[in-house]
Every structure is written in structure tokens, then in C-alpha cells.
Symmetry: C2
């Protein structure tokens, strides 16, 4: 028991009853199915799949994606780049606009053989990076971030800034001793998370594609090479009918899926590969509550389903085998306490019933609203394979 | 630069400009002031202070609390108990209802000299713990959790269950070879977080005190020793006029404070000791947005101020020296992207202004909604002392 409190051990537990609570569980067959589904979609559309590893931050998960056909990875932090490069992955896209205080760390990684590509939507950053490259005798590679849906960052494809950034990047010329090379364009239609019909998702996927391809065309017409055209989010990647003009697809959360994605309509509850194992520690019978040892520290504070068609509170409650208990959600969460109750109190157990339904010590699994946010609360996953075995897969966090 | 991406190093950075972004900063003089304030309050009220270490999860922080007069600690996980016991703290209260699958780990800690006390509000757990103690020839110590405000867990002081739990605990008698001893009662008026007037806080503190003391009185009248009467939350601890009948006070978040506590009214913005250092990485000038490299991964998803008198979005933006920029908040957050803008768009910078006000590369500090949630996203703090030095203080997470 004590060993389970310590950093990842080599001996795997024999049963989920041997795990401490809370623990993060992965269903191995669902994981494999999700990985195969996205790879088949990329193959059908004729593009490379560059999975975003920010969801799992776990080498064994990325290994399964690469074995299934993925080519290169996307990261959200330099720590991810550092960790995956140390594990042998060299083709890495850092998909968050780079700040000047990170240039040194990026240069160090590139000099160690990591083909780390950067993104920006800022003319000042482009100029500063090119200058830093010239000063250090090194050519950085950078993609211009395109705004395809107005939700966050990026340059609109028709904005004069697009060509200004390209010009600033390559001011020193490709033949100079150092600078920055335009490697391509990338976009992320994060606005797709707010949709929930197939028609709207198909339209958003086409908008993401066409605006990014338009930006590449403008750059090429102005004389810039623009080899990479990179698009994606899990909802648009799974909804795209054509990716004509695109070279690569990025997606992250599909590897686990979650309740937000179920509400968007791109997965079912039984596709969700990650859950949090928890124990019942008490009750408030008059309120129909069971208190569990998974609060927001285990689930995260993410309430992404609150604004969607079905609100799952802090998560959908399942039995120990992973079968959802209809209507039962984690409806409130403190740091290490969760309150389990029926979403519709009238339909649920009242009086003494919750104590009989979920006695103290009962193990439950909770499906997360947002897998990226829940996963980062843990330093390891417990992978359940089809044969009933449990493996321990480390994950990392931080910057 | 690369060293800063690796686990905590022994060499301290010379300036915040040497830190990676995002980083967690602690203002040392505010930290000391907050610690001294709560200790003075406990001293004035004539009770022990048993700080809850779940906020900081950092040995150097707890050391400052103990040096200032704190006596014993409160924890929310067995990992905290394990870590602080390894550092020499022996008097520990695990303030989350214990589940049967944790009995083995608790027994191991107690046999290694950790005076770890447990809590429950469940008759079944009390009986199971006493049985486990008898079976293993060990006496556990347990406090009954009292519900003083209806917000979560606990037994109401007038509930017959109170005496049933005490009887189940001590069924084997104190003279038996093992079992469970009633060490006292404890309560946490978490409902105080929803208040924001001094009068309401004073009333809630008195309710928390009187209901817990009532429970102790009932137990003593029934023949049970009830040495510990433990109450507290940061808002009630700072608002209590009298703690007559109470033996110890618990509070956690006061050590850092946060925007939720500022809205409750128990601290000012310039008492908040923790902030997140971030860099500006881009703009959407037409929207008045600056994009920064602190998203919800750095700030957490906590939106605790959303339902309070002032909504700070994902945090209050300050300049690099920690001075709040009035009206500027982190109004949206994705995983590693934050969107900074004026809460009242009409009052803020429009057009090109945001680029002049916050050029790319600008360092900002963001005050968190909920310090416990933000702190856990980091594996270290950077402590800024009054002399301008920076120290690196490790922290841990997980279970």
C-alpha cells in the first residue's frame, strides 16, 4: 500500500482494488481504438497525422500513436519537447506562440538534434527570432499561426501582416549564416469545441482548411516557400470531408476523449478511455449524497460541459467496471472531496437509499469533462488491458 | 535556460527575467505577514494553530509557519502526511474522511512514529477502523467530523449518529490490545467562502464554534473523552471573536491568500503572496487582447470569483513588480494560452493600444482566483525576498 504513494514503481498492481484512490485509469482497448480511428481518418484524407501530446504527456501513449502511423508530434510546452526528444522523437512542432525568453532553450534543443519548429503571429517576435538566429549563426524554422475562426490567436489570411511576418523572418535570406526560415502555416479551429451538430462541424473543418490553404497560397504567390500546411482540432479533424492543400493534421484529446467531446458529438461515452478511480468515504443521506475521495484535485476544476447540451457536473459516475450509472454525476467538488448525487434529484435515491446503493468503500470510476485538465492532476496512469492486467505508465507535467 | 526546465536546481536565478514563463512566484514579505497574522489571531483566541498544508505543499512554507508558533499540521492526502512526516513533523491530522483502502497506509505511517489522526462521519467506517485496529493490535485515533453549516460532510451535533459512532469506535474499550480511540471532534465551515460581510462571517465563525463545542459536550456527557475540539477555515478563523471550548484552529489558504479571499473580505489584493509570472506572446489588436503564455495549465480552471461580487476572470493582471493594472484581467484561458484584456472593454485599450501597452515579451504577474488550485500546477515556487534575491522552494502534488 505504501509503495503506491511513492513515485512510479516497477511492480504492477494485480487489480484496481490494489490501487490507491484517487487514481487515473486508462482503458487500453478504448485507447487503441481512438488512436486507430484518427490515424484512419488522416490516411483517408491523405495527410500526415502529427498528434498533440499535451493531453497524455506520456511516452507509452505517444509510442502507440507512432506505431499506428503518426509522424512527428505537436507540443504545448518546451518541457514536452525536451522529454519527447530525449525519448527519440525529433520532428516536433511547438504550437504555442514563442516568447523571446524561450529562444535560448529552443536553440539548445535544436543544436542537440531536435527539429523543433516554432509558431508566431507577431511581427515583433518574427523579427526578434530572425535577429537572434543571425546573432547565433543558426536558422530557426517557424510557422505563421493563422486565425481561421476568431477564437484566440493568429493572423487572418487576408491581413497584410501575413506577408510582413514572412518578410521579417526571411529578411536575412536563406543563404545567410543564420536567421529564421518560413516553414509553413498552421491553424487551430478551437471554436469547433462550441459546436454540436455534424453540419456545423463539417463547415468549421472546411473553414479551417480553406483559410489556412488561402494563407499558404498568398505566401507562395509572394515568393515564399511554404512547405507545411498544418490544421486541426479533434472535432474538425474527425469531421473534415477533404483536406485538399493541407499537409498535416493535428489533434490531441481524441486519444482519451472526454465528456466535452461527447457533447460536441465526436465520440460516445464508451469511447472515453480515461477515468478517475475513487472510493466512497461517507454520505449525507437526507440529501441523497455520497462523498468520495475525488475532488477537484483529481478531476480538475474544468466545468466544460456546463455550457453544453448536457451538464455532467464534475464528471459522469460509473461503477467499478466503467459502466455509467445513468443520471449519477459528481455534482460538486472541493479539494479532496467530491459530492456524488443524481443530476435530477427527484429521479435519484433519497432517504437511506444512497447508503445502500453506494456503501462506504465502494469503488467508482468518474469520466472527466476535459481529459487534458484531469490527466495533468496525476503523475501516472494505470493502464487496464483486455486480459485484465494493469500496467503503470508515467506521465509528466510542468514547464 | 535549459536548467530551468529541469527539476529544481540548486542555483537560484538572479532576477525574475531569468525565470522561465510561466513560473509561480511567492512574495516573501507578504507570506511572512500572512503567517504572523493568523498566528496572532490563534494566540489572541487562546488556541493552537494547526495550519492546513494542502495549499502550499512545501516544506519551507510549513517551516515558516511552525517557526512562527504553529503546532502540528493538517493534511488532505496521505502523500502530504508521508512527506511532512519524513521531514520531522509528527502531529498530523488527515482531515478528509478515511476510506477502508487507506487503513494499511495509515497503520504503516503510525507504526513509523507518525501520530496521524483520522476523521470520519460514517458509522461503517468507524466500526471497520476499530475492527482493523483490533485485528492488527493497534489503536488508531479518530475525530468525528461535525457538520456545522450543511455544506458538505459531517454529522450534525444533535444527530443520534454522533453517539453511535463514538460507541462503535470504542466498542473494544481503551484497554483492549487494539481498536480506535475517539480523539475529538472537528468541523470546517466551508460555507464561509460564500459570505462577504463582516457580520455574516462573525456569525458563521460563532456557529462553527458553538456546533462543534456542542458535539464535544454531548460526547463527554455520554462518557467519552473528547480531548480535541478542532475548527476552522480561513474566513471563520480570521473572523472569530471567541473560540471558547475550542482547542485548535485550522486554516490553509491564508498563507498565500487569493482573489476569492479578497472578495470574501478577509484580505486585500496586496496581501496575496502568490502570483504567476507570464510573458506576452502576441496580440489581437482589434479586440484589445494580449495573448500570454499562462493559460489554465498555469492558473488552473478555478473560476471561484465568477459568483462573487467582483469577477476577475482567470486572474488579476499585475505588472512585473506585482502592481495590479486596474481592470486588466485574464479573461479567457486555454491550456497554455491566456487572453488578457480589460474587464470593461470600453474602459480599456482598443485599436493598436494593447500592443503599445503590453509589447511582446512583456513580463506580467497574475494573481490567482484560488491559490490552492493554482499552486498545484507547479512543482516549485520562486520566493522573492525583500533584498531582491530569489530562492527556489520545491513543492509536491499527487497522492
Amino acid at each position: 500500500m505504501i509503495a503506491s504513494l511513492n513515485p512510479v514503481t516497477s511492480s504492477a498492481p494485480a487489480s484496481i482494488r490494489d490501487l490507491p484512490t484517487p487514481s487515473a485509469l486508462l482503458d487500453g482497448s478504448r485507447l487503441d481504438r481512438n488512436i486507430a480511428r484518427m490515424q484512419a481518418q488522416a490516411n483517408r484524407l491523405g495527410v500526415r497525422l502529427r498528434p498533440h501530446v499535451k493531453t497524455a504527456k506520456s511516452l507509452p501513449v505517444a509510442r502507440r500513436q507512432i506505431e499506428c502511423g503518426a509522424s512527428g508530434i505537436t507540443v504545448s510546452t518546451l518541457k514536452e519537447a525536451e522529454q519527447f526528444h530525449a525519448a527519440g522523437v525529433t520532428d516536433i512542432l511547438y504550437a504555442v506562440g514563442v516568447a523571446p525568453n524561450k529562444f535560448g532553450a529552443v536553440l539548445d534543443l535544436r543544436r542537440r538534434g531536435c527539429n523543433l519548429k516554432l509558431v508566431t503571429d507577431s511581427l515583433d517576435i518574427a523579427g526578434a527570432l530572425a535577429g537572434y538566429g543571425r546573432a547565433h549563426g543558426h536558422h530557426f524554422e517557424l510557422l505563421i499561426e493563422i486565425d481561421s475562426d476568431g477564437h484566440r490567436a493568429g493572423v487572418r489570411p487576408d491581413d497584410p501582416l501575413l506577408l510582413q511576418i514572412a518578410a521579417a523572418l526571411e529578411a536575412g535570406g536563406r543563404e545567410a549564416g543564420g536567421g529564421a526560415l518560413l516553414a509553413g502555416v498552421m491553424t487551430h479551429a478551437g471554436g469547433s469545441y462550441e459546436l454540436d451538430t455534424e453540419a456545423a462541424l463539417v463547415r468549421m473543418a472546411e473553414q479551417e482548411r480553406s483559410r489556412c490553404v488561402d494563407a499558404a497560397r498568398r505566401l507562395r504567390e509572394a515568393g515564399h516557400a511554404c512547405p507545411i500546411v498544418s490544421v486541426g482540432s479533434t472535432p474538425t479533424a474527425l469531421s473534415a470531408v477533404s483536406l485538399d492543400g493541407v499537409t498535416e493534421l493535428r489533434a490531441g484529446v481524441y486519444v482519451f476523449f472526454d465528456l466535452v467531446m461527447a457533447n460536441v458529438g465526436v465520440c460516445a461515452l464508451d469511447d472515453i478511455a480515461m477515468s478517475v478511480l475513487t472510493s466512497v468515504i461517507g454520505h449525507q443521506p437526507s440529501k441523497g449524497w455520497a462523498i468520495v475521495d475525488a475532488g477537484w484535485m483529481a478531476m480538475s476544476r474544468d466545468r466544460g460541459t456546463q455550457s453544453q447540451r448536457r451538464d455532467y457536473g464534475y464528471g459522469q459516475v460509473c461503477d467499478a467496471h466503467g459502466k455509467p450509472i445513468d443520471g449519477l454525476v459528481l455534482h460538486a467538488a472541493n479539494q479532496e472531496h467530491g459530492i456524488v448525487g443524481f443530476a435530477d434529484a427527484a429521479a435519484g435515491a433519497g432517504g437511506e437509499d444512497i447508503r445502500r446503493l453506494l456503501p462506504v468503500g465502494t469503488l467508482l470510476r468518474i469520466l472527466p469533462n476535459h481529459a487534458c485538465a484531469t490527466a495533468t492532476q496525476f503523475d501516472r496512469y494505470h493502464l487496464l488491458d483486455e486480459a485484465g492486467g494493469i500496467d503503470v505508465w508515467p506521465r509528466f507535467s510542468g514547464w
